[in-house]
Structures are given as structure tokens and as C-alpha cells.
């Protein structure tokens, strides 16, 4: 099952806090797609996920200057 979270309107620390809280509610093996802005979220969200043992499967820029991250719990 793939979940989706848009954090483009969030600012620090709620960017990675919301990702963490969403991942906590998911089962192992499930995937979470996160839409985020460049800058602080793009630097911190993938790093904090990897530090906690989650897999960042892909990290692709979108047409409108944002990024789409795919994380596996």
C-alpha cells in the first residue's frame, strides 16, 4: 500500500515531524510518497528517514520545482 503526504506548506520542524508521525502509523514494508520543497525539507527529510532505518527508494524533482520522495518503512 502506498501512502501520500504533502509537506510543501509546512515549515521546520513540522516537515520532518509530519513524515515521522505518518511513518509511525504505517506497517513495515509500506511505502510513503512525500511531496516536498527544495531547501531545508529536501536536505533534512531524506536524511532523517535514512538515519532511522527507513529506505529512501527515489528522490525525483517534479515539474513545478518541488520534489517527490518515495520512502519504504
Amino acid at each position: 500500500m502506498k501512502h501520500f503526504l504533502d509537506i510543501t506548506r509546512e515549515t521546520c520542524p513540522m516537515t520532518f515531524v509530519k513524515v515521522k508521525l505518518r511513518l509511525a502509523k504505517m506497517d513495515a514494508g509500506e511505502k510513503l510518497e512525500v511531496l516536498l520543497n527544495a531547501g531545508e525539507p529536501l536536505e533534512n527529510v531524506p536524511r532523517s528517514c535514512e538515519e532511522q532505518g527507513f529506505k529512501v527508494l527515489s528522490n525525483e524533482p517534479t515539474d513545478n520545482g518541488k520534489h517527490l520522495l518515495l520512502i519504504e518503512k
Binding site: E10, T11, P13, F16, V17, K20, L21, E51, Q52
Partner: protein, 163 residues
């Protein structure tokens, strides 16, 4: 063979001042740290306790006349002053509006996230005794009422931040 247990990094935040902006700073650091896999403990003492009162406005809680007056004057989470340029309580309201406009998390949202992230909240026994308030006057997130020795034991190997 089982995986070795890796100790989490620890952060303890002493919330002393209880001002609006400083509580925001404390909860921003706390939630950011907890979301990046750190074990976070918050210790509320003196003015910091006001943010944890169940009664968010000015209520004369307390065990005697003086503590009731004090608690009414200090108020709760809705009455936290700004540490600078408070202008009789007008500035926190304006600041809240500016934060909403810029999609910055409000104190309520940060406190809710702190609860979901499992951040430990301790209240200072000595300050509560002076101010005549009991654990029942505080929000349910407060795990226990402790003294400084317990706080220090629980903060062993932690970075301690005083706000």
C-alpha cells in the same frame, strides 16, 4: 545473533521562562529532536509550568489565597507573554497571526506533535509546591512530578538545554 542495542542520543530541555517565544523554541527543538530519533525529556519549572496548565486562561487555582492570586496573574497557555515587545499581551496575538500566515506551527500544534512523538514531560515538584498547584491542574501529557535529582538521573548522558 541479535543486533547490538544502539543507545539513542538524548536531549533534555529545562523549560523555565515560560514565555510564548521561548516555549515555541523549546517545543521546536523538542519535536525536531524527537522526529530525528532522539530521546527527549522536557522538565517544566517555575514560569514554564504555566504552559502546561489545563486551564488555558486566567483561573485562580492554588491551595491558598496568595497562590490563587499568583496563578490568576500568570494565567495559562493563552496568556504566555512575549519575551520582548509584549505590549500588554497584544504581541503574542499578533505573532500568532503572523505565524498562521506563514504556515509556521503554533504552540498547540507543536505540543500535540510532542505528545504523539512520546516526548516525556516532567513537572518540577518544588515549583508546584510554591505555586500551590497539583498534577491534576496540569495536562495529561505530564508523566510525573519530580525533583531535580530525578530529572538529572533521567538526563544522564543527555544534552541539557535551559530555556
Amino acid at each position: 545473533m541479535s543486533q547490538p542495542v544502539v543507545d539513542k542520543k538524548k536531549i533534555s530541555i529545562v523549560c523555565f521562562s515560560g514565555e510564548f517565544d521561548k516555549m515555541l523554541a523549546a517545543y521546536t527543538i523538542a519535536t525536531g529532536a524527537a522526529a530525528t530519533n532522539r530521546e527527549v525529556t522536557m522538565f517544566f519549572t517555575f514560569w514554564g509550568l504555566n504552559a502546561l496548565k489545563k486551564q488555558r486562561g486566567r483561573k485562580p487555582i492554588g491551595k491558598d489565597f496568595l497562590s490563587r492570586v499568583f496563578n490568576w496573574l500568570m494565567g495559562g497557555r493563552n496568556n504566555l507573554p512575549l519575551s520582548r515587545l509584549n505590549f500588554g499581551g497584544a504581541s503574542p496575538i499578533l505573532m500568532g497571526g503572523m505565524m498562521r500566515k506563514n504556515n509556521v506551527a503554533q504552540l498547540d500544534e507543536l505540543m500535540e506533535a510532542a505528545s504523539e512523538l512520546g516526548i516525556r514531560h516532567f513537572a518540577c515538584e518544588m515549583s508546584m509546591h510554591i505555586l500551590g498547584i497539583s498534577k491534576d491542574d496540569l495536562i495529561d501529557d505530564v508523566q510525573s512530578v519530580v525533583g531535580v535529582a530525578t530529572f538529572l538521573n533521567e538526563s544522564e548522558d543527555a544534552h541539557i538545554i535551559f530555556i
